[in-house]
């Protein structure tokens, strides 16, 4: 199981999903209609490192974070 965290304004509690790769996580999250607009806009981090491909293998206990558009300052 990997843990998926939804940061900032997404306002959704973390979930655990069965996934062997980031692709599996994407497939799982795409099933949730409430997440659809966020998936288009969010950056993704695996264990707190930003990634730019879904071709990443995951192991149990990995943390996936979704980061919506930002505006600091």
């Amino acid at each position: 199981m990997v843990r998926v965290e939804f940061l900032g304004p997404i306002g959704k509690a973390p979930i655990e999903v069965e996934a062997k790769s980031l692709k599996d996580v994407a497939k799982e999250l795409q099933k949730d209609p409430e997440l659809k607009k966020w998936l288009e806009e969010c950056a993704v981090a695996v264990n707190d490192k930003l990634v730019n491909t879904l071709d990443i293998e995951l192991k149990s206990g990995d943390k996936i974070s979704l980061l919506p558009p930002v505006c600091g300052g």
Partner: protein, 147 residues
Amino acid sequence: MVELYTGDLEIEKICGKWYKWSLDKNFGAMVSFIGTVREEKGIEGLSFDVYEPILQEWFASWQKKAKERGAVIKMAHSIGNVAVHSSSFIAAVFSPKRRVALELIDEFVEDFKANAPIWKYDLKNGERIYARDRSQKISGSGILNSL
């Protein structure tokens, strides 16, 4: 390390502390940028969420770039609510000569706006409203939707 504070920043205190720290480091220049909450569209203030692990890593990569140019960056930011006419962000660059500090503060603040994992909300009638129209997608966004 980014300094994070709950609520508005005590700018005089933070800025004074950094200035004193710098005096015996032989820097010839200190350039600071301070972000203050403006009164507009009837907001009572702004509110911020921060994701610290990635923020600190992002900042460390900038500190490395600054070091290569003989400079040091300092930054502080608010978490939670900040009322209008108070400040939520300060950054400062210290360098031996002015040009590096002036250029670096510009590059740093622009990248901060585009990539630092901080989310802004307007405070209106006690409600927290995500400032989506002023927010920018972090580079690489949208991959989860790309299948």
